[in-house]
């Protein structure tokens, strides 16, 4: 099966508002993803709470029940918000999905209605009485719920440990901030605050829209122009977002935190140079894959298979922030052994480079992934959004060509630039910890 060479059609709708359109009638479901990017700052809590409040109803659908009933009536269409951290941006995502027309009863069409419902959520929220921007009862309930949710985050051991690791490693940098905010920030929010961030998102957020799957171009572009174009009323100054901060470590810091848990959580973070071109990007990703990108990675093969020190261990690249992280669930008494092994493998990769077999297996895995992208609207959207956000604008075939051109020296060069920054261990207070971590 040939690699996808197609690039999505880029349609600028307004300054700072871009649509990437990739019609794919073969797919059964359509996806429309609207990303609003703002700085990862103290506004995160308000945006997270806003998303929850907006999902509680609109002027036309006054409760969450009414919204859900409408989605069921549209053959299980989905309309909802999500929030995530993308380097040092806070990304608020409106995601819409619906079944393609050829799988609906004759004469049924849902795309325009689903799009309208998404817009309605953001533009025509359910207002409170006496001109209040939001219903106070709804706001109070959702504010309390979000605060409870943040307090309970500690129960998600893996997620909590990862966030604490980011806070330790990137202390003082925007990246350390949890994208959902803090309990104190949430509890201080008012209806006026939410209305201000709602307008800020629509007016000042950098907007990237991905439309993928069985989508009809004419009606989609018309609807989006009516929303974000001149007649939509949201044309404004959408400022360029600042680059993520970078810092190179002077020495490896060791941080240990205690939590009553059975399995210790281990993280090791490296600072890496942020890729500035296609070759640097692929070299970094390939090097991370050789280290710990899955079953072909050294960490899986050595730490798990040879030494039985962990069930799951792997590395991950956050290219936009310039981080490479290793994470694992381990026995606390083996923390030193795991740390030493990871550092030994990174050093070996930098000094000796990968073997031909390692390169070959990692490339095979990447190529399989690149060929698989075409089979789902979600993977297509993720791929092209990332390409756009990094300014690379490549097709899967373009990426594969760069990948194929890379050799052991490129991986070695990438690994040489990695600087170990922080080793983090979260373990039970009663656990016996070997050696020096913490």
């Amino acid at each position: 099966m040939a690699l996808l060479k197609m690039l999505p059609e880029h349609i600028p709708l307004a300054p700072g508002v871009d649509l990437l359109f990739l019609p794919e009638p073969r797919l059964k479901r359509a996806l429309l993803q609207v990303d609003f990017d703002l700085p990862l700052d103290e506004g995160c809590a308000a945006r997270t709470l806003l998303a929850q409040v907006l999902e509680q109803g609109t002027a036309a659908h006054p409760s969450r029940m009414h919204l859900a009933q409408r989605q069921e009536g549209l053959f299980g269409a989905t309309v909802g918000f999500g929030g995530l951290r993308a380097a040092e941006r806070h990304r608020m995502r409106l995601q819409l999905g619906w079944v393609g027309e050829r799988f609906l009863p004759a004469g049924e069409q849902v795309a325009v209605e689903v799009l309208g419902l998404g817009r309605e959520l953001l533009e025509r929220p359910r207002r409170g009485s006496g001109g209040a921007p939001f219903d106070e009862t709804v706001l109070e309930r959702e504010r309390a719920q979000l605060a409870r949710h943040i307090r309970s985050f500690v129960d998600d051991r893996a997620g909590y440990a990862e966030q604490r690791f980011y806070e330790a490693m990137c202390s003082g940098e925007p990246f350390a901030r949890a994208p959902w905010g803090t309990v104190e920030e949430v509890e201080a929010l008012t209806a006026a605050d939410l209305e201000a961030v709602r307008e800020a998102i629509l007016q000042r957020g950098r907007v990237l829209i991905l439309a993928v799957g069985p989508v009809e171009r004419g009606s989609l572009v018309e609807a989006l122009q009516a929303w974000f174009g001149k007649e939509g009323g949201w044309v404004g100054e959408r400022a360029e977002l600042p680059e993520a901060t970078t810092r190179m470590p002077e020495a490896l810091r060791e941080v240990r935190e205690e939590l009553p848990i059975d399995q210790a959580r281990f993280h090791l973070g490296f600072r890496v140079a942020r890729p500035t071109n296609s070759v640097e990007m692929e070299s970094l990703l390939l090097a991370s894959s050789v280290l710990g990108g899955g079953i072909q990675g050294r960490l899986f093969r050595i730490v798990r298979e040879e030494r039985s020190l962990a069930y799951g261990i792997g590395s991950d690249v956050l290219a936009g922030k310039g981080l490479l992280t290793v994470g694992a669930g381990i026995d606390a008494s083996k923390a030193d052994e795991v740390c030493e092994e990871v550092l030994r493998q990174v050093t070996d990769l930098a000094e000796n480079g990968p073997t031909e077999e390692e390169i070959s297996m990692c490339k095979a895995s990447f190529l399989n992934g690149l060929q698989s992208i075409a089979d789902s609207a979600g993977t297509l959207a993720r791929f092209y959004a990332r390409e756009f956000q990094f300014g690379l604008h490549r097709s899967p075939a373009d990426r594969a060509a760069v990948l194929e051109s890379l050799g052991p020296q490129d991986v070695q060069r990438a690994a040489k630039s990695w600087k170990a920054d922080t080793v983090f261990l979260m373990a039970d207070p009663k656990a016996s910890i070997a050696g020096s971590i913490g």
């Binding site: 079944v99 050829r102 069930y311 669930g329 698989s372």
Partner: protein, 416 residues
């Protein structure tokens, strides 16, 4: 290779060819023109519940809890070369999974499909299980079990199952307790393999843009010939009523995690009976607990539930229960609110328009579950293992009547 049936499903624009190998392995082939990936799922009805059985030779066998899961791990070791390396060279994504009653192995790939299929069939049908290999794996499985044990949702779920059932094997998680993992031997795993991994117990489901006839011809020599004999699982008799009204366990969490379950006295059996039971039960849960439900909306407005709420239904031949869960400082308020709501719902009965709306949404779900070759292959394997025709769910969904839903709601929530 015997062709059984070529099923056409015009509503989903899909077709599935059913066949059976000489050895009795059942096969489903779905052609997905224009798609880049191909997927293969290979599985059998043998899971973590099967720790006590009469093997085909008539001998009674007891193995430690977690043996099916341990065996799954060991199959990935391969006979001569690790399966990780073989799939790794092909670039395929692969994994396996063990549940209470099933084990499955799969890969998804966009290249070298035939070679990857050969790897899959080879490692599942020809393992090498030695004491040394079993010993080496114990540390890895212990870490996996401990990872789950640290998850309050996982712990609470099994606490609920221990409250619902007196002796049933589903009280024990598929990984088994750590001490059971450590007492597992190569002989235990070999006994499981010999008893259950027989050609007529295995099901293979493939989906991709391939020529089905060509694939079938290539499969036959790779599938084992007849090896008659059937293992018989031995389960303890399970009383019809729940074991405990309430169970509590101390665990370090920020707020209490609470589960509430309703069990049926017995399981629904197999095949279409099970599928119909599953659909009806899920429909009842959706009617009460989906965001679209006025019953749920009332609980939400009252503050009795919040977004940490979830509901699920689970059944197999010999078990059946529904459950809800929530994280709350006020478990009693949650429990009394939900209990009162389901009792009222069962008495009043479902609203016809709500059933139609959920049926409409379920159609969207059916389309989604056949979106990719991997999801199609997975769904077809589930049908084979369940003993139903692929896509049977669509006709069943259409055929369900309002009074059946009402009757099922009463069974679930107003037991005599």
């Amino acid at each position: 290779m015997k062709i059984i049936e070529n099923i056409q499903e015009p509503r989903l624009q899909e077709s599935v060819l059913l066949a059976e190998s000489v050895g009795g392995t059942r096969i489903a082939l779905a052609r997905t023109p224009g798609y880049s990936t191909c997927a293969a799922f290979f599985g059998l009805r043998f899971g973590s519940n099967h720790v006590h059985f009469r093997n085909p030779e008539g001998k009674i066998v007891h193995v430690p809890w977690g043996s099916a899961h341990f065996l799954e791990h060991k199959l990935f070791e391969g006979r001569e070369e690790k399966v990780f390396d073989r799939f790794g060279r092909l670039g395929a994504n692969f994994n396996g999974g063990t549940s209470f009653a099933r084990t499955s192995y799969y890969f998804v790939t966009s290249q070298y499909f035939e070679a990857a299929t050969e790897v899959l069939l080879d490692f599942v049908q020809d393992p090498l299980i030695t004491e040394e290999r079993v010993e080496k794996e114990k540390g890895i499985i212990e870490q996996e079990v401990r990872m789950y044990e640290d998850d309050p949702n996982y712990r609470g779920y099994f606490l609920l199952l221990r409250a619902l059932y007196h002796k049933h094997a589903i009280r024990i998680s598929p990984g088994g307790p750590v001490e059971e993992v450590h007492r597992t031997t190569a002989a235990d795993l070999q006994a499981c393999y010999d008893a259950y991994y027989r050609p007529h117990n295995l099901c293979l489901s493939l989906a991709g843009d391939f020529d089905p006839e060509q694939i079938l011809a290539a499969l036959e020599p790779q599938l084992q010939g007849p090896r008659p004999g059937t293992a018989e699982a031995i389960f303890e008799d399970e009383p019809a009523l729940p074991a405990h009204e309430r169970l509590e366990e101390e665990f370090s969490v920020s707020r209490p995690h609470v589960w509430l379950g309703w069990r049926d006295p017995s399981g629904p059996g197999s095949g279409l009976d099970q599928l119909r039971h599953r659909i009806l039960s899920s429909l009842v849960l959706d009617l009460v607990f989906e965001h679209s439900s006025p019953w749920y909306e009332e609980l939400y407005q009252q503050g009795a539930v919040d977004d940490s709420f979830g509901s699920q239904f689970s059944c197999d031949e010999d078990w059946s229960y529904a459950s809800v869960e929530m994280v709350t400082e006020n478990p009693d308020r949650f429990l009394s609110g939900v209990r009162a709501t389901v009792a009222r719902f069962a008495e009043v009965g479902p609203d016809a328009s709500a059933v139609e709306r959920i049926r409409r949404a379920a159609w969207g779900g059916a389309v989604s579950s056949s979106q990719t070759p991997a999801s199609l292959a997975s769904a077809n394997l589930a049908s084979l293992l369940q003993g139903t025709r692929p896509f049977a769910v669509l006709d069943l969904l259409d055929s369900i009547q309002l009074d059946e839903v009402a009757q099922r709601a009463r069974e679930m929530f107003l037991p005599e």
